[in-house]
């Protein structure tokens, strides 16, 4: 195997589909993460976005051992779709509602993640 060392500093973003099975806690179904962002929020205060005018929905916290972490969701991910619904142009409350629908046990998310480390590691291991 040829080890190629990538010396570039371009950050790569790629999309991923994540399926989260909700956990029942009492009367609620929880997913185990927190979201921030929305078209009614201030995009400049988003620590995870690369473009500070991006008003999309971002994952700001992932609880340990929760369903989201198990499914592979990471902090800083931008949620593009939830069960086919677009999440790039929604308000914060609309996003919350789409994620916490009572009759859905499973949510399928399309997330975008920027990770430089992962790209370098992957290229080095190939």
């Amino acid at each position: 195997p040829v080890i190629t060392v990538f010396n570039c500093f371009i950050s790569v973003s790629f999309q991923q589909r994540i399926e989260i099975h909700k956990l029942r806690q009492g009367d609620n179904l929880i997913l185990g993460f927190s979201i921030g962002g929305g078209i009614d929020q201030d995009p400049t205060q988003n620590p995870f976005s690369e473009d500070k005018t991006d008003k999309g929905i971002y994952v700001t916290r992932v609880t340990e051992g929760g369903p989201a972490e198990v499914a592979g969701l990471q902090i800083g991910d931008k949620i593009m779709q939830v069960n086919g619904w677009d999440m790039t142009m929604v308000t914060h409350d609309q996003a919350r509602k789409r994620l916490t629908k009572r009759n859905e046990e499973v949510v399928r998310l399309l997330v975008t993640r920027q990770s430089l480390q992962k790209a370098v590691q992957q290229s080095m291991m190939s």
Partner: protein
């Protein structure tokens, strides 16, 4: 070896000697490492035979005698070095001779101007009255009777003349406060205008009325009234030209004193250069701290040391290339790695510390002295326990306890020449009379004040010369520089025009102030 260097070494040698001779008088001085003694040793780096001065300089004795009269309340002071004693004695002579010859000439000019103006004013004032009275005196019988109208005109003439008199007194009858080199252009212009005006009126009167013996008395009286009206308008013109025009500020003037760089800014209107100089000088006495030659000796000694250690030897043969020598000296002085900046820094820090310590001692001493004095109320005055003192005696009673601390502080800040024991006692009794606190008493000594605060003998600045490239009667323009010189220092004045300000308006509707919340919420799902 250049002769300049010889003179330099002799002078520094003298200060070396002066330091030694007066050291014996100093008591309790902790400045054993004074730079003056180092001065003498460091400046002689090459081999030169230094001859001691033949006799002590004249100024030396004079200052010592003066100090004997003033300083009988403490140790003798030794603030002045050899070079400045030299210059003081010579300048005193120059000053005396200048005073003598100038006082006669300027007074004549001033009084001549005043006399002319007074005579003209009197003439002008009496003219309307003469116009009215002359027909009555000369051909009374031929005059047409003129009843009510003329009497009304008489009243109006009388009151207008009264107003003119009061206005002229208010405006022009003032003590001249300065001698200026050239005549005021506007004043001269106005006098000429008034003269021509009155002359033409007299001419007309003489030809048309006196010669032909006009019988229309009402017309004559109206002619006199028109003269008084015109005089009132000339008075208005005088106010506008002499007083109002320069009120609006047009120029900002920067005044810098040449010896220590103290500077101030003033706003002036349209003035001639000489009047601007007057304004600057009036403000100088109030705003600038008093000129203290004793504060400049430090920089002078540093300047002397810079060039002192170098001597030029001409090895290539005879030939006195003076400019080449001085250039070589300057280059060598620049290359020499001297630590005079270090010395300056530590000397200044040391001086600061010393001044602060002495100041603290002084404040404590004065506060303690003031606690010994108590004011007696009126009813207590009858049944006083001890003997009652008036302010002067009270001041003399508490003065000895603070005298030493005050004297030491004044000597450290080099102000001792400006305060004699008598003046301090006077100030102390003044403060006691007016219930001032110790801090109020000390305010005069802790900071050097403006020149007006001190005795006239200590001013160093009584006769001024205006040095200007433009004519002194021309008006101020942007970029003009003129210098006000007195014997010891000069004030450099730089004139700048106040910039043309473009002011535009912007209307803000009070209802247009609207705000939104900047949210960043986080929801857990």
């Amino acid at each position: 070896m250049s002769t300049a260097m010889d003179t330099e070494s002799t002078y520094s040698g003298y200060s070396h000697y002066s330091g030694h001779s007066k050291k014996a008088h100093r008591q309790g001085r902790d400045r054993h490492k004074s730079p003056r003694s180092k001065d003498g040793s460091r400046s002689e780096k090459s081999v030169t035979i230094q001859t001691p001065p033949a006799e002590p300089l004249l100024g030396n004795d004079a200052s010592r005698a003066e100090e004997g009269q003033d300083d009988n309340w403490g140790e003798t002071t030794t603030a002045i070095t050899g070079t400045s004693e030299h210059s003081i004695s010579q300048e005193d002579i120059a000053r005396i001779s200048k005073d003598l010859e100038d006082s006669v000439g300027l007074d004549c000019k001033r009084y001549l101007g005043l006399t002319v103006a007074a005579v003209l004013g009197l003439l002008v004032f009496l003219t309307p009255i003469a116009f009215i009275l002359l027909p009555q005196i000369l051909w009374r019988d031929d005059l047409e009777p003129c009843g009510t109208v003329c009497e009304g005109l008489f009243i109006s003439v009388a009151f207008k003349l009264l107003i003119l008199l009061i206005g002229t007194w208010a405006l022009f009858f003032r003590q001249p406060k300065a001698d200026i080199p050239r005549v005021f252009v506007f004043r001269a212009l106005l006098l000429v205008l008034i003269f021509l005006f009155v002359f033409s009126y007299w001419l007309f009167y003489g030809v048309r009325i006196l010669d032909s013996k006009d019988t229309n008395y009402q017309g004559i009286v109206q002619y006199a009234v028109s003269l008084v009206d015109a005089l009132l308008f000339i008075h208005y013109l005088a106010i506008v030209l002499l007083e109002l025009r320069q009120l609006q500020p047009m120029f900002t003037v920067k005044v810098v004193r040449s010896t220590d760089g103290e500077s101030r800014y003033y706003s002036l209107g349209h003035l001639s250069i000489q009047r601007a100089a007057l304004v600057v000088l009036e403000n100088y006495y109030r705003d600038f701290t008093v000129y203290n030659p004793a504060l400049l000796t430090a920089s002078k000694s540093r300047a002397a040391k810079h060039m002192a250690g170098l001597k030029v030897y001409n090895v290539d043969g005879p030939g006195n290339n003076a400019s080449g020598q001085s250039r070589a000296m300057i280059a060598a002085a620049a290359r020499r790695r001297d630590s005079s900046h270090n010395e300056l820094y530590y000397e200044e820090a040391d001086h600061e510390r010393r001044v602060k310590k002495r100041r603290a001692r002084l404040v404590v001493a004065v506060e303690e002295a003031f606690t010994h004095i108590k004011r007696l109320q009126a009813e207590e005055q009858q049944k006083a326990p001890g003997e009652m003192m008036d302010p002067r005696e009270a001041a003399q009673a508490i003065f000895p306890s603070m005298a030493r601390a005050l004297q030491k502080y004044l000597r450290t800040t080099r102000q001792q020449q400006y305060h004699s024991m008598e003046s301090i006692l006077q100030h102390l009794s003044f403060c006691i009379t007016n219930n001032m606190t110790p801090k109020a008493f000390l305010e005069r000594y802790l900071n050097p004040g403006p020149t007006l605060q001190y005795d006239r003998d200590r001013w160093f600045s009584k006769q001024w010369t205006l040095v200007s490239e433009e004519a002194v009667t021309s008006g101020l323009q942007d970029g003009i520089v003129f210098v006000l010189k007195c014997l010891d220092f000069s004030l450099v004045v730089n004139v700048k025009k106040i910039p043309f300000i473009k002011l535009s308006e912007e209307f803000i509707d009070p209802k247009s102030h609207k705000f939104v919340l900047r949210l960043q919420s986080e929801t857990s799902v």
